[in-house]
Structure formats: C-alpha cells, structure tokens
Point group: C2
C-alpha cells in the first residue's frame, strides 16, 4: 500500500499563549486549522501534543478569533514548560487514546479491590497527566469514605512513593512528625524539630505551603529563614544540625499526591484511605522511619468526631505496619486554634515567643510542642518511655532548643525577623460571658481575606481562648492587613458571619477600637 506521510499534515508552529491553567496542559488550535478539521477535533477533546522528543497529554481549546495565525498552535504555560518549547517549534497534535488505567478505575468503581500493579498504573497515569481531572475525580470518588482496605492503602502508598523522589539519610532512625490539619495556628513543627535535633535526633522535615489554609508550615518558616532548599542543601543542613524545616515542593516527593489533592479539594470528600496514603507516602519519601502524627479532633477541625479519629488511627497504624514504618498517633484538642497568630508572620511570632520563653508566649502552643516532641523522643529511643515530655521541656527551658533553631535557620541561609502588617482592626465583646466556641474555619477564611498567606504579615491574632471570661468591650480578635481595602474586605466577611467567637452560646461581636496606625 502506498504510504502517506501523515506527520506533515498534523504539524503546527508552537506559540506561547501566556495563559496559566495551573497543572492542566491546554493546547489552543484555530477552528479553521487544517489539523483540527481533518482530525475532527472538538473543544475539550483530549489530545497528545509532541515537540521533538517530548510529548504531553493536553486538553484542546478551540480559538475562534485572531489570537492565533494560520498554522500556529498555542500552549498554556504549564504545557509550554513541559514540552520545553520555543516559539516556532514544530508541534504535532494527535488523538489521545483512553488511558489504560481507566479500566482499573472502572473496576474500583465496581467495588473490586485493586492490587499493587493496578495502583501503580493509575498513579503513573496521574503523574504523567494522562488521566484528566474528570477521570481523577472518578477515581477519588470510587476510593472515598472507607472503600480502601488496609492492603489497598499500602499498595496505593507504595505506588505513590514509587512515582517520585525518595530521600535517604545516613542514619538508621529518621524522625518525622505530621499534623492531620484543620487547626489554624497549630505551628508546633519548628519547635518540635528544634527540640528533637537539640537532643541528637535526626529530623529532616519537609513541609507544605498553604493550599486552602491561611498558612502552611513552609510559609511560616519562610518568614524566619529560606525554605526553598534543594536536596543537596537539605543534606548539608541536616548533616550539620540534625534537622531542617524545608519546603517539600522543592524536592518532588510524592508528586502524585499533589495532583490528587488539587482535584480532591473542591470535592471535600472524607477519604480515609486517600488521606493515609497521602501522609504515609510523603513521610516514607522523605526517608522517615519513626513518625508521630498530631491528630486534632474537634467539630470544625479536619477530624470531627472521636469515631472518625478512632477509624483513621487504626487505618494509619495498620497501613504503616505493613510498610515497616514506626508510627504513633497523638489525639489533640481540635476545638479552637492554637497560639495567638493565624497567618505566616503572626504564627512565626508565636513560635519565637515559645522558643525565647517569653512570659507572653502562648501556653497551649508550648505544651503541645513539648508533648509532641516528647512523643518523638520516646518513639525514636532518645528518651526512655514516659520521660519524653520531661526531656523536651528541659531542652526548651535550657535554651538549647532556641540555640538549635537559630543554627538551623542560619544553615538554611540566614535567620530573619517576621514583619508586621500596616493596618489592624480589633473586634470586641458586646456582652460579658464565657467563650464557648471558636470557629476554626471562619477564622481561617477571614485571615485569607485579609491577605494570608500571599501577604506573609496578614492574618488574625486571637485575644481570647476557649472558656475565657470576657467583659463588654474586651478585645476578642484582631485583623491584620497591609491595605485598607483588604482590611475592609476581611472585616465585612467577619460582620456577615455569626458564631466566629461565641459567648455563652450566643454570637457577640461588635465594632471596634478603630484602625491603627
């Protein structure tokens, strides 16, 4: 048969559109384009785009205006980078065959238990972008609630682990801690790392930036020292000081997790198996052997009930055991924020106050950090059973934790002092009574509207704690922002919400002592 050169028919010239579509590869082709017409491509079609030896799956958007010239194909920013394209490069656009792992996803939808090879196929397709967001959403839904067995969680974890970098360290015992989350201000990590490293432990901590919260640990730590460490820098810091607090994003641990979380977030499904695989894969990828999990339990935390906590704990323990990971879960009070600050710099100030043992340091943050550090010291055998908290407390009170923290900051590139926002507004109690509830989610939202974490100094400081007795006009909390507009925006949200800080079961919020400065 006479061969036809099909390649020539489907070649277009690359053009960077300058459109940020986050992680979704998008290719833009003109409706009148020869390739579009002959392939029968329609908008939102899944296609395969290649440029030289690089190729990516992408979603098609059809251009109906003059944004593209004849013979051009545009690429979104992420696609441009993935293809390492230059203006005018030859692009080839073809139909994308359905990803093979979708048959495994369908099997899971039918309720079948998947094996390691099937989870590996799914995870590899997730990382390579071969599964669309719609297909990933179906996978996450099929795994939601309690539909993953401990064996499946272990398989999914191993698959996620295999799809990214895995750090190794020249010690047999590598400590780590992780917080299940949902509690603003619960910034124990820098203190725990300082205490454990000061006691001779090895704790190479990687932390995340905020996704939905007003601050991630990496955002907080960045107001105190650089956190964008590559693997070599991390090794150097940990070799010298025993610990670090780095941004996990620079070292590509469990890249599948990043994609899954981004799709899962709007669905807000309680997916135990997914959560456990996410946590354990990140810890194992960081090289941890002994992990303490901080699990805050409270009606507006991520884990809302005792029953949910017990179920999640048992899945964490069973899955960790299958992976040979030593793991201890500590349930903590998740009814209200920890410390005073919410937002990167404001939380960093709390951390420094505890390390410096200032009289006004938040007691709850201090006690939580001591108890978690104590658990790490016991789990890793540095302290005898039952003696962990005492050792941790002594390390903090002797000033050795502060010294270690300062040395870690210097090793990471130099210690900094967190700033302060230019504008504040304080909300005060209207009546007297007892503080009965504080809504973590609404406080977090208000802190984000004030600019956190994008603006590191923005956020909220809490002036009261649960069960405090308050008088009329007594400050409840203060908004911090760097522009009057942002301050007003966050304040408008606060005023529209009831129950952010509730006194004697009733909402008691009133305006204010004016703006400073």
């Amino acid at each position: 048969m006479r061969k036809v050169d099909l390649a020539s028919r489907s070649t277009l010239q690359a053009r960077r559109m300058g459109i940020d579509t986050y992680r979704e590869n998008v290719v833009y082709m003109h409706a009148e384009c020869e390739v579009c017409r002959s392939e029968g491509f329609e908008s939102q079609a899944r296609v395969f785009v290649s440029c030289g030896s690089a190729g990516i799956p992408a979603t098609l958007n059809v251009i109906t205006s003059d944004l593209l010239r004849q013979g051009e194909a545009g690429l979104s920013d992420v696609a441009w980078i993935a293809l390492n394209a230059s203006d005018g490069d030859e692009l080839k656009v073809e139909h994308l065959p359905p990803p093979i792992s979708m048959s495994h996803v369908r099997a899971k939808v039918y309720g079948r238990q998947l094996d390691l090879a099937e989870y590996k196929a799914i995870v590899n397709d997730v990382v390579a972008g071969r599964l669309s967001n719609i297909e990933i959403a179906a996978f996450l839904t099929a795994c939601a609630v309690d539909r993953l067995s401990p064996n499946e969680v272990a398989s999914l974890t191993e698959a996620m682990l295999g799809a990214g970098e895995r750090l190794t360290w020249p010690s047999e015992v590598i400590a780590d801690k992780h917080c299940i989350g949902g509690l603003p201000g619960n910034r124990t990590t820098p203190i725990v790392v300082a205490i454990v490293a000061a006691c001779g432990g090895v704790i190479p901590k990687t932390s995340s930036r905020a996704i939905t919260s007003p601050a991630g640990t990496a955002d907080v730590m960045e107001t105190l020292a650089p956190v964008n460490l590559n693997l070599d820098a991390m090794r150097r810091v940990v070799h010298a000081e025993g610990g670090c607090i780095a941004w996990g994003g620079s070292v590509a641990l469990s890249p599948a997790d990043d994609v899954l979380i981004r799709v899962e977030r709007p669905l807000d499904l309680d997916s135990e198996g997914q959560l456990v695989a996410s946590v354990l894969s990140k810890k194992a990828a960081a090289g941890a052997t002994h992990v303490v999990i901080d699990m805050p339990v409270g009606p507006t935390a991520k884990v809302r009930t005792r029953e949910a906590a017990a179920s999640l704990r048992s899945l964490l323990e069973a899955s960790a055991a299958r992976m040979g990971l030593q793991l201890q879960v500590i349930e903590t009070d998740g009814r209200a924020p920890v410390g005073r600050g919410i937002g990167p710099a404001l939380e960093a100030r709390d951390v420094l106050a505890v390390l410096h043992q200032r009289p006004d340091a938040p007691l709850d943050l201090r006690e939580r950090a001591i108890s978690l550090a104590g658990a790490v010291l016991e789990l890793t055998g540095i302290a005898a059973e039952g003696a962990g908290s005492a050792v941790a407390r002594q390390t903090l009170e002797s000033g050795r934790a502060l010294l270690k923290f300062e040395r870690i900051c210097e090793a990471q590139g130099g210690m900094r002092q967190p700033g302060l926002a230019a504008h504040t507004r304080t909300f005060v109690a209207q009546d007297h009574g007892l503080i009965t509830t504080i809504d973590n989610r609404k406080l977090a939202r208000a802190a984000k509207l004030a600019g956190a974490p994008r603006d590191a100094t923005a956020g909220i400081t809490l002036d009261v704690r649960l069960c405090d007795a308050v008088e009329p006009a007594q400050p409840l909390f203060t908004l911090h922002a760097n522009s009057p507009g942002e301050l007003a925006y966050a304040a408008e949200y606060v005023e529209s919400q009831s129950g952010i800080v509730a006194i004697n079961e009733r909402v008691q919020i009133d305006e204010t002592k004016g703006e400073s400065p």
Copy 2:
C-alpha cells in the same frame, strides 16, 4: 462601621477572547490585575462573574502575557454568550461559594439514597453550571453501576424533566421509540416513524446528533430533509403528518442530560440508573406516553451480555411504571452493524432502499424496522396483539410508508437526496472461510477517521454480513472519504487493527482494488 464600596474594587472591562471551551465558562484575568491580587484568585479557581443583571459561575485562567490589558477580563465564547456581554461592559468577579447540592453529592458518595428534592437541587446546579466537571464526575461515579434504586431513578428522571422544556400534544397516545445504541447503521427510526404515522399513530420523534458515533439519527435524517425544527415547526409537521424526525437539540429537552452525558463519556462507566434517567427524561420531555426500546445485545454493542440486558430491562420497566409511562423493551441482535452503510449519507441510502423496496435493500434493516414498528403499533393499540408486524409489513409493502416519509420530509422543509463521497477504497478477503465476527467499535472508529459525521458522505459500506462465506479477493468493506488524505488516514487505521472483520476466527484483511476516482 464605615462601609467600603467593594464593588468598585472588583470591576473589570469585558473582552471577548474568541476561545471555544465548549460548555465550560472560563474567565481570563491578568496575573497583575488588582482584582486577582486582592481576592487571592489562583488559576482554576471557581468564581462568579456578573455583567449587569446576568451572572454565571466560571473557571479562572490567569493570563501571564499581554493578551489582556490592565483592567480587562476576558471571557470564553460560551461565557460571553451566557452573559450577553458586549466589549467594554463592566464585569464583576467574586469568589464562588461551594454549591449547596455538593452536600447531597457527598451523601450519595456515602451510600445514602437521595430524595426528589435532593436530585432537583443537584440537577438545577448542573444546568446552571454551578457544579464543575470534577463535581459532576463525582456525582456520576457515586451513582454508577447499580447504585440508584428504582425510586431514585424515578426521582432523578423527574428532576431532569423539570429542568427543561416539556412538549405537549393534542392526543392522548403519543408513540416514541429509542435505541440504547452502540450499533453502527442501526437506522430504523425514519422507517418506523413513517410506518407508524402512515398507520395513523402520532410519533413526534426527536433524535440526537452523533456524540461519539459516526452518525446520529439527526445527522442521517439531515441528508434527507432539514431537522433543525423549532417547536412551532415540529407541531406543524406532526399536526399535518402525524410524525416528524427532528433534531432534539433545537428544543432544549432535558438540558441536564446533555451536560451529564458530556462528562460521563470519557469515564465510560456503565451506569444503569443514569442511562435509564437519561432515556426516560428525554422521552417524557418529548411528550411520549408509549415507548418501545430497541436494545441491541452483543459483545461490542453498548449492552454486552444477556445479564446486563435483563438488569437494564427491569430497571427501565420499574422506573417507567413509576412515571406512568407505557414501555416495552425489545432485545435485538447486537453482534454486527445493521444495513450496509455507516455514516450519515450512506445510512440514509439504506433507509431509502428499504422504503423504496429495492431488491438490494438490506434485509436486516428492513426486518428490524418492521418488528419495531409492529411493537409500537401494538403498544399504542393501533394493531391488535400479535398483528403489529404484519400491519407494519403491509404498510411498507403497499408503498404507504414511503409516501408518508416523503410527505414528512416535504413538511420539514423539502426532501433531499444523499450525496456520495469522491474517494473510496475497498478491503478484500485474503482467504476463504466464514465471517465469524465484525467489530462495531473499530468500524465506527474507521468511519469517523474517514470524516463521518462532519462530512455527511464519508464512512463505510459493508459488503459482507456475519456467517457469509467468502472467497479470496472478495470485497469485505469499503471506505468512503472526500479527500485522499482522509482516505489514507482511515486506511492506515484499518491496517493497524486486527479483527475488524474476522474470518474463521482469524483476521483476514488485505489490500484492495485501488482507488476510485
């Protein structure tokens, strides 16, 4: 408290980007835009865009180049139309609160049965675009396989029905037929409508265009007469002739179904409940009271096994009964295509051959149409029980069906003759033996590569049927295309596939008797 005018901060000037994103509303904002920065918007965020009194949910894409000027916000084509925007109109972009119906979707993920009000909330959010594709995918997955009870199917159907137009007709008995699909060339509808209407039945048929297949009934009919009838035109044709074959897209029946199908397609989940709700809502919306379902069963059809057929039949019957719809399911042979042609014009030629009783008319198409028309005649009481097929056959053989069909075509705007493609290539048997299998899916794919349905004359004609004995060099099937490139493209696919037409269990395809003209 001093009120701040927040509206003024978030106003941008509308600009049409000329980007077709199909049904997904996309708003484009510059990364440096004041609104983007102050709201903390990130790419892919879900936002609410308003323009005057109109407002739509949309997905944000961030522009990092000079495609937008300061103070401008771009809109994708569908968003532009939905907002009825003009260049320079003031747009307001705000955070989109999570849709309330997502809590019902989550309840369904947890395995709870939803009630009518909950399905209505979900369907209304689907139609209004408040649920993203990711959220719709989670809903479809939670409903997949057999997770909808007959009560839930009835509720979902009623909800879908309530979200669109519903046609009414001045007769008590309104007939309809529907094919579950997956069988190329199974184009009985024009023949069935002609026979039933010729017998005095009322059958206002709305049909779809192809989504994934080489031809929908509307595409085939359009080669014979106009099908884009509005409601008035449909009423006029049905009043005059008793039947019509119109494109359902012009009358907005069950718009929720259109959105759900588009998300479901790439997932390819066998979702009985969804399928039944889709079919029944479309039939009820078209005003049907008596419906015959053609359900082809075969390994490469949509329904693949007897068990799947039995299960789907019982759900269809139970759900229809709850809605007061008379429904009969006819299981048909789904092992191979029906008729000779695959593609709009080629299938229309088969339809005309049957109506004209030409000696070369495909027998299988003729017999299937007679049997389905007979079932409709019996179900609607036009023919006595057991006499339907005989009446249908007599109506066809007397020429009354042809006459009725021509009158319907004239009433729809004038009868046309289907064309023929300029280029063909025939594939022949390499060996002698019996035709054992024909792969519906691969044939459909080849027909699409040749240009169908975009190009109405493109497609395939089959020269053999299952169980035919063939000799070496005997034609098996012929590709039809309007350019040598498309012909080559489809031919390359055919040559790369095994088992499209299998002889004695082995693949037997060879080249060819050359190209004509």
